[in-house]
Structure formats: C-alpha cells, structure tokens
C-alpha cells in the first residue's frame, strides 16, 4: 500500500498525505482538548491512577473473554458446517433434515444476540433441570455459538453453492455417495471460497463475547462496570476498550492481508 503511493509520482503525494493527516487528526484532537468540559472528561475517562487500579481486575476478566472466544471459535465452525451440510443434502428423503436446517438458520438469525443471551442465560438455569448445567457462562457461550453458527452456516452454504454443479456431477460419476462427494470434492472448495468471509465473522465474534456481561459474568466489561459503580470513574471502560482493540486490530489487519493474498492467488490461478 505505502509503496504504491510513494512510487506513483515521486514524493509529492506522500508529503500531501502526511500534511493532510496531521491537519485532520491534529484538528480533531484540538477540538476535543479545547472543549469546555475536557478537564473533567479527562479525569473521568483517562485518569492514570484509576487506570492502574482498574487494570488488574479488567485484565482478569478479559482472560475469560479470551477463553470464551477460543471455545466459540472451536464450536461455531463445527455446528455451522453441520447445519450447512444438512441444508445442502439433496433428494426427497432428506426433506426433514433440510427443513430443520432452514428453521434453525431463520430463527436463530432472527433473534437479536443480546436477547438470546438473556433468554438462555437466565431462562434455562431457572428451569432447574438437573441434567443441564446451570452455569450462566455455559449458557452465554451456548447462545453465542448458536447465533453465530446460524450466520456462519449461511456463509458456508454460499461457498457450497459457488462450487460449480459439474464438480458434484464428476464426483458422483466416480461412484461416490452424496456424502462422500460433499466431503471430498465440494466442501474443501467451498470452505476455501469463504475463508475471508469467515475471518470477518471471527473479528465481530471477538467483540460480541462481551455481550455475556449482561448475565453478570465477570468478564472484562462486567469488571469495568463494577469498578465504575464503586468509584464513579469511567477509566475502567477505557481499559477494557484498549484490551479489545489490542486483539481486534491485529486480527483485522491479518484478515485484510490474508484476503488480499487470497485474491491475488486466485486471479493468478485463473490465467
């Protein structure tokens, strides 16, 4: 990126870019710090002492966010793939299976994630069914997994649909069963088709893990909230924000880089 605009017309475009960046961000900063209430806001949100005091608890909570993020990253691709495959099976015998998959994706995509978290997180434990775990964290994770799996299943399905019909024909022509054709011929291509889209989902999942804080689970946002209600200082939220950014910015950069590389690789493979 950088190389490209430096080479274009010598150094001029670079100079313009640097100057306009300084003017823009400098202006914005100036606007904020000269606002009448800035000293109070600075104290409320950017207080170094509060930062130091809040950081350990918020960091502890963030470790839970990361664990839940990790678990959902393992569970979602599996559940979603299952749903996508169910929906891709052909023939009248599989109609109930397809119907089930359609209902699943329609319903789960139709419920706001925050409601699903509340319903499962408070509702299921209230049933007091002995066989089911009653941990709010478990149900929060379940809500996250179910909702994201519905979206991810649709991504997989678009990838499956993008594989030419002729690929399925030639797999079946070898005598492979419908399942084998999917497993060996279609799915590997389908998954490759949608890796960039899947990675974008990962970026948004990483942040949505914070939604389970409404169940009172002491993850980063909840810990920040607790600190705020004790001290009436909001710096703890800034701590949490920085922690999320520390993960999501590198992740986003990586996704962009990967997507671009994939695009280039594909356009070369075409020739």
């Amino acid at each position: 990126m950088r190389k490209r605009f430096l080479n274009e017309e010598g150094a001029w475009p670079a100079v313009i870019a640097i100057v306009s960046t300084i003017v823009f961000f400098g202006g914005a900063t100036l606007l904020v710090v000269t606002s009448p209430n800035w000293p109070r806001v600075r104290d409320q949100f950017f207080n170094p002492d509060d930062f130091r005091q809040a950081a350990p608890d918020v960091l502890d909570g963030f470790w839970l966010n990361l664990q839940l993020f990790g678990w959902s990253m393992l569970l979602i691709p599996v559940v979603a793939l299952l749903v996508a495959v169910m929906r891709s099976l052909r023939g009248p015998a599989f109609f109930p299976v397809r119907l089930l998959a359609v209902i699943y994706t329609d319903v789960l995509r139709g419920i706001p994630l925050i409601l699903l978290v509340l319903l499962l997180g408070f509702g299921v434990p209230a049933l007091q069914i002995e066989l089911l775990p009653s941990s709010a964290t478990f149900w929060g994770l379940t809500a996250l997994t179910l909702s994201y799996s519905a979206y991810t299943a649709e991504i997989y399905r678009s990838g499956i649909d993008a594989v030419p019909e002729s690929q399925r024909s030639s797999a079946r022509a070898l005598g492979l069963t419908q399942w084998q054709a999917l497993r060996f011929a279609i799915l590997p291509q389908a998954v490759r088709n949608v890796v960039p889209a899947l990675m974008n989902t990962v970026v948004s999942l990483q942040k949505d893990v914070a939604l389970i804080s409404i169940l009172g689970i002491r993850e980063a946002v909840r810990e920040a909230q607790i600190y705020t209600s004790r001290t009436f200082n909001y710096t703890s939220y800034v701590v949490a924000t920085l922690l999320f950014l520390a993960i999501s910015i590198p992740l986003t950069r990586y996704v962009d880089w990967y997507t671009e590389r994939d695009r280039v690789a594909r356009s070369q493979a075409q020739t």
Partner: protein, 246 residues
Amino acid sequence: MTLELDGVHKAYGDRPVLNGIDLTVEDHEVVCLIGPSGCGKSTLLRCVDLLDSIDAGEIRLDGETISAKGVDANAIRRRIGIVFQSYNLFPHMTVLDNVTLGPRRALGMARDEAEARAMEMLGRFGLGDHADSYPNRISGGQNQRAAIVRALIGDPEILLLDEVTSALDPELVGEVLSAIRDLAAGGMTMVLATHEMGFARDVADRVCFLHEGRVLESAPPATLFTDPQHERTAQFLARVVEAGRL
C-alpha cells in the same frame, strides 16, 4: 456387456430434450453420437450414468434395468466411466489424488494399491511427470487425459465421452484423440458425443445422428457420411463440410 436404451424421454422443465431414444451398444463397440448443439447428446450420456433421471423409457445395462427406482445408482456408476467436456478435475487435488479418489473411496481400494495403479495408468497416458501437479498448472489436454484416466481407473465396462475435445485449444485436440484411439484399439466399449467428424469416421463402428431428441439415423461411418438416408442428416453434414470439419 450391452447397453440398451429403449424409448428414453427426458425434459428439463417443459423443454423436451430426449424424445424417445432407442439405441443399443454392443460389447467392444464404439458408437459416436453426432448432431447439432442441443440435440440431446450430452443429456443422453448424463442419463446413462444416472446423473440425470429419465421421465419415460428404460435404460438397461447387461439386461438389468438401471433406470428403475430403487437401483443402487452408486453401484451402477462404478461400472460406467464418464469424461466431460470441461474435464472437471477437482482443482484442490493433485492429478494423482483426482485419479485415486474413486478407487479409494468408492471401491475401498488401499491407498498404495490405488496409487500404484494410478501411476501405471498415468504413465501410459503420458502424464507420469504430472502426477503431483494441480489441474490449473497443466494444459487442457493434460487435464482431459487425466480425466480419462480418472474415469478408467475403476475398470468400467463402458466409457462415455461427452465432447471431450470441444473445450481444448486446437493444438491440444490431437493428443486427446490419440488417447481415445488407443482405447478403441484396445477394445474399450465407448459412446462418444463429438463434433470431430473426421475422428468419428476413423474410430467409430457406428455413427448415430441425433435430431430433436431422437436417433434419426444410425449406420457405420462409411455409410452415414457418404450416403445419409435422411434429409436432416445430409443438411447437417453439408454444414459440417462447409465449416471445414469433415
């Protein structure tokens, strides 16, 4: 081995494609299907391999009705090889993996055995050096020969070839045709849909002219190409000659 089609009808939606196909292919016979685009050649081959279902009529393989409901289509497909116009190799697999997928997964052959067999056949088709190449790294002709090996490795009783040279650059057509010629010489039973009339004349025991979903005329090439009985056949051949394809 005999393949018999008896009054086969097939429509896509309300567009009829096959309108009562009668055709018998004997053991070791090479039958070429010719005719204008859209006359049903490809559909006919797809129906024989049970990739499309038929609406009426019957297809029999060795007297067994394979177009009936409840037939194990996978078992039938293992007895039939098919090669498509656009090769359709799996792009995420090497040539060797493409070729061994069928034997390993559909026939349950051990990997070593399948690969040994595949290497021997790839060598025979001049692809020994390309076993580890991916399809997008080799030429169209090599792709198509690999597709032929993939169709043949399971020892099919009959091989169906659907305009296998139509997607190839002209200079690559020869290598694929000579591979098919070798198969014909080796006694392989084949049905070819083709636009290569010169090749059909060379290799076919019998040429069938398809028109509007029917076999309008069927005769040895020497007869059909020089003395067509039907006006439609004559018109078609005249156009082919005009285009310099015969």
